[in-house]
Amino acid sequence: MDKKKLSFKDIMINYGVIIIVVLLVIYTGITSKNFLSVNNLTNILMNMSSRLVIALGIAGCIITAGCDLSAGRMIGLGGCIAGTLLQKMDYSQKFFPNMKPMNIFLALLIVMLVCALFGAVTGFFIAYLNVPPFISTMAMMEIVYGINMIYTNATPLGGYVSSYTGIASGRFLGISYLIWIALLVAVITWFIFNMTRHGKYMYAIGGNPQAAEVAGVPVKKTLIIIYAKAAAMYGLAGFMLGAKAGGASVQLGYGYEMEAIAACTIGGVSVSGGRGKVSSAIIGVAVFEILKAALQFLGVNSNAQWIALGIIIFVAISLDIRKYVARK
């Protein structure tokens, strides 16, 4: 085997997913004229925004070798709480008919706090009662859904005040607020992951929980914070999605956790814990959103899109995982 061949293989292994996506973008750009328009690229960025917030939240859980199946239902709860608090006075189907629409920041705060509370409960069961994250977050997923059903009585919400929908339609420096929010969350998350003690504890717990415990890391407290923080981020994402869709219902966000976990993994967050960066989440989310848009532009049959998505996950992770496989 000569050197050249090997390095080509290495490139494929390390950047395989990205290369595939770039090829797809080029192909789609050539065959359907508007794909590479500024308009459509903004669209893709907008679509990425809330997905990124979710992925960054879930990434924290995965890095501790956990996961969070409750993400989707938390998004729904966040979106619905925001929806009930931010309806126009004159909307005929108003949820709280006589309540003035709340200040949007206050509403956001409430959404994030409520979600964080549920997240903290999940974290408590994981940390103190040794319930595996998969099971614990699954249980919370059911509970949050039930609560949201009871709260909204399964009524779809709409008729939002313009300051709320304005979060999606408004722009600053030509860029949608949604994108700014996602950027801000990414920067804060980067800071937490890399610059704070909490971030390092997170990696330690994922890398080797016994070692972390023995080294004096407050494992339990850290876990609770991680799940609470993640839940707050799902709440934020629900808030963003509601603004963008101009409405919300209990189904909002359903199943998003799967895509977020897949996105993180594709980007390089290891489900066995201890490894993963903010950039991993960004790459993974970009892959998914670009793929979805490209498939639609190419006119691929919706049913076949599921298959394409599944195949991409297989291929992407097969290529990627080999980076970490010991040279055997």
Partner: protein
């Protein structure tokens, strides 16, 4: 000032089915190294884990400087000035050396109103402590990229960096090279001069004689006694640990090797950084030693033979026939067995019973009608191995994770004995094993050889290598550097001269 820096009194600790500690005591004088001795499973690690707050003891008291204290978790232990180098490595492989060193106590600085980790200070301090322990790798290096020995050195640096008043070393040298051991002893001498009280656990008698001031001996979870190091000879220590006297550690060989049974030719790893062009042969009834410094790639070569590591080229002949080995199952078909060096990583099945741990490699042999497992037969074999190897356990249903390290090793030996291979590769077979058990393992090796089985033994312990082998190959840096055919040529000097031919 109290006479003792630290006292543990009347310590009791039970696990389901095992009384691991029964009224044990330990008293550390400041500025001394206190050796804690005992067979595998005597309860040494358990006692130290109780001290460090990892286990909650059932009864007993701990006094620090004469004050009674209660220690509920490692964090509290560290706050009391106690540090520990753990027997089972505790690394976080995907993080840097510096982070591993400062985990749980990162230096912080203010970033506006927020406290952030002071990376600069962390890296500088890490570099300082690494230099203290005579190590000079990059604090930013990924811990997982280091060798096991280097990781152990990081653990030592970490314990030292706590500037603790009490430092516990639980078998710190089991994977250190001689140079690294020397460095450790220098550090311990420094600490002694600074008045630090140390607990030192090791199964290597020569180390005990060199470093210990006091010796406490335990047997079966009970306290035997405490002596000054000069009061006891090595034989005394062994007798008190084992409860009987052992005359010759390396038992007499009963046979002479016969014809060549296996030949390995020009074996080269798929990785450029790994072993190149290694050839050797093995005779029937032979105990073949593989010497070299830690990191010489002996393990990789033998794992290559066994089908775990990918090869670029090379041939293996067993009984004159060429065999293709791509998977351990192929190796087993060719009559080869392997006891790996990394017991916890790729040896034991922690959550399975002793029976399942022994049985796993032999199921092919004990099938009824080609499908149903013969549980009765398997049970008998496991039972007899437990007796033969004197594995300390309530019964064969016990989870292997609950056994002491040494007993786990015996279970793995039992696995391969049950598989009955013609060729058994044993990688560091006595690492972490007490003298009594070591002797037993050596006897088993000799018996196997006498039955016409052939053994390849990788050992970093010079005495063992010279004491047990019929013939020795020495590797250095992934290459075969020499063969010592004659028993009388087998000297430490000769082995070392080959082992350092980089």
């Amino acid at each position: 000032m109290a006479e003792f820096k630290l006292e543990m009194k009347g310590i009791c600790k039970s696990f389901p089915g095992v009384k691991a500690l029964d009224n044990v005591q330990l008293s550390l004088r400041p500025g001394t190294v206190h050796a804690l001795m005992g067979e595998n499973g005597a309860g040494k690690s358990t006692l130290m884990k109780c001290l460090f707050g990892i286990y909650k003891m059932d009864a007993g008291e701990i006094y620090l400087d004469g004050q009674k204290v209660s220690i509920n978790n490692p964090d509290e232990a560290m706050k009391y000035g106690i540090a520990m180098v753990h027997q089972e490595l505790q690394p976080i492989p995907a993080r840097s050396v510096a982070e591993n060193l400062y985990e749980g106590r990162f230096p912080l600085k203010s970033f506006g109103p927020i406290k952030v980790v002071d990376h600069k200070k962390m890296y500088e301090d890490t570099a300082y402590w690494l230099k203290e322990v005579k190590m000079d790798f990059d604090p930013k290096a990924m811990l997982g990229d280091l060798s096991i020995g280097q990781m152990q050195s990081v653990e030592i640096a970490k314990a030292v960096s706590h500037q603790a008043k009490v430092v516990i070393f639980d078998e710190p040298t089991s994977s250190l090279s001689d140079n690294e051991v020397e460095a450790l002893f220098r550090i311990m001498n420094d600490l002694r001069d600074k008045g630090v009280a140390m607990v030192y656990i090791s199964h290597k008698m020569d180390e005990i004689k060199r470093i210990a001031d006091d010796i406490t001996i335990m047997r079966d979870g009970t306290y035997v006694g405490t002596w000054s190091a000069d009061e006891l000879s090595t034989d005394d220590i062994i007798a008190k640990m084992v409860g009987r006297t052992l005359t010759n550690v390396y038992p007499e060989r009963k046979n002479t090797p016969g014809e060549v049974i296996m030949e390995v030719k020009h074996m080269t790893s798929i990785s450029d950084k790994s072993f190149q062009d290694v050839s050797f042969n093995l005779r029937k009834g032979e105990i073949l030693g593989f010497g070299g410094l830690v990191g010489a790639q002996r393990t990789e070569v033998l794992e290559g033979v066994f089908g775990i590591r990918a090869l670029k080229s090379g041939e293996v002949y067993v009984k004159g026939k060429k065999v293709t080995i791509k998977h351990p199952a192929d190796a087993m078909k060719a009559g080869i067995g392997l006891i790996t060096e990394d017991r916890r990583g790729n040896g034991i099945f922690g959550c399975l019973s002793i029976k399942d741990n022994v049985g796993v490699s032999t199921y092919n042999k004990y099938l009824k009608a080609g499908i149903v497992l013969d549980h009765k037969k398997i049970g008998e074999i496991v039972d007899s191995s437990i007796k033969k190897l004197r594995i300390k356990t309530p019964n064969m249903k016990e989870h292997i994770a609950n056994l002491s390290g040494g007993n786990q090793q015996k279970v793995i030996i039992a696995r391969w004995l049950a598989n009955d291979p013609d060729i058994l590769i044993m990688d560091e077979p006595t690492r972490g094993i007490d003298v009594g058990a070591k002797h037993e393992i050596y006897e088993i090796m000799n018996d196997l050889a006498a039955q016409g089985k052939s053994i390849i033994m990788v050992s970093s312990e010079m005495a063992e290598l010279l004491g047990m082998s019929d013939r020795v190959y020495v590797m250095c840096d992934g290459k075969m550097r020499g063969e010592i055919k004659d028993k009388k040529d087998m000297t430490q000097a000769k082995v070392m001269s080959y082992a350092t031919q980089f």
